[in-house]
Symmetry: C2
Subunit: 188 residues, 2 copies
DNA sequence: TGTAGCATGTAAGCCGTTACATGATTGA
DNA sequence: TCAATCATGTAACGGCTTACATGCTACA
């Protein structure tokens, strides 16, 4: 039985449980559409490194795509052992509390060091970024419709997670708008 | 002019702008009361490493505390150069979008791999953790009252950030409660 | 014909962690 | 007297990033 791998390994392994096999390149794209919003967007180099390790451990199976033209493309699919280990990990390891690295909050904390406009425009800029992010996630969410080809609803959980993210961005926007009001009016 | 340091360096430097000087030990405690909730809780070893670097760069000044009994305690205070560099960093470097590592969302994404109860109890467990965290932050928030000793309101911005965090935990709770409903009822 | 996208990897290095190491002080 | 807290550091290492390296394919 394999020791626990880093969470990102299981994250990538999990992306291979949606019924298709992917190349490293495609896996990176899927990570960018999903993981990015609440975990990480692993670097290409890490995706390949991770896939090599998972293959080594027998958790995924690599085969060379012969249908592809001349180009060498390797496609990866999760193995039965991989699925088992993922289930074991999900069922038996402690769930950690989310870790947030929030540069905006960090900088706001030091608001007394700069002039009010710096904090204000930082929050404004954050609202803009937030709107962009939200739009990106909305696009992803819209693509997660019920697939009529598939008997099971493959995207039920991805949809829940995406909706969660959208709600989060919405509440974050409201809170930041309130903070802007406080920055503007609070000073006694 | 110093190059940009890692964000955590500026975070610790920022904690020294509240008008007091701290030992490494105390700085770690302050980080645990503030930074922890939206940045990181640096390890003791990192606090000392960071203080050594900041001293080296002249951004903080170290003095041996003679009032302390026999024990060797070094107290650190931010220098004028440190304050300048912090201001420069705050005013002139790009603000990054928050990075979230959310193991609960990650695991929920893979809900189709486990039985519904696993997801359900995971979300329940998260609600418990969330309530604990919220209580901890509430304690911090309550301590951030207006200091009648001090002419300026030192804690205005820390208070804003703490309130932000409390709102975040509240909205997170509401969203997770909704998700639990969906996990329970959605399955067709 | 040249650039964007597809495709795969290695090497070096940064940030931060855990483990290790040491010792004084306070109070139950 | 023993444990908790205060107090300071070094060493090793893990996870992940950036930079580097290479080459094919589609299309404008």
């Amino acid at each position: 039985m394999s020791q626990d791998l880093p969470t990102t390994s299981y994250a990538l392994l999990g992306l291979l449980t949606f019924g298709d096999d992917l190349s490293g390149y495609e896996l990176k794209q899927r990570a960018d559409r999903t993981l990015r919003f609440y975990w990480v967007s692993p670097a290409m180099s890490q995706v390949y490194t991770e896939l090599a390790r998972l293959t080594e451990l027998g958790l995924v199976h690599a085969r060379d795509d012969t249908t592809a033209p001349t180009r060498s493309t390797r496609r990866y699919q999760i193995t039965a052992a991989g699925r088992r280990d993922l289930q074991r990990w999900l069922a038996s390891t402690a769930v950690e509390f989310p870790a947030l690295k929030h540069p905006v909050a960090l900088r706001l904390l030091m608001g007394h060091v700069v002039d009010p406009e710096t904090s204000r425009s930082m929050l404004d800029g954050y609202l803009t970024m937030l709107a962009e992010r939200r739009a990106e996630l909305q696009t992803v969410r819209d693509s997660l419709v019920l697939d009529p080809e598939s008997a099971v609803d493959r995207f039920r959980f991805p949809r829940m997670v995406a909706d969660w993210g959208l709600d989060y961005y919405a509440s974050e926007r409201a809170m930041v708008e309130e903070l802007i009001r406080r920055v503007d009016t609070d000073p006694p």
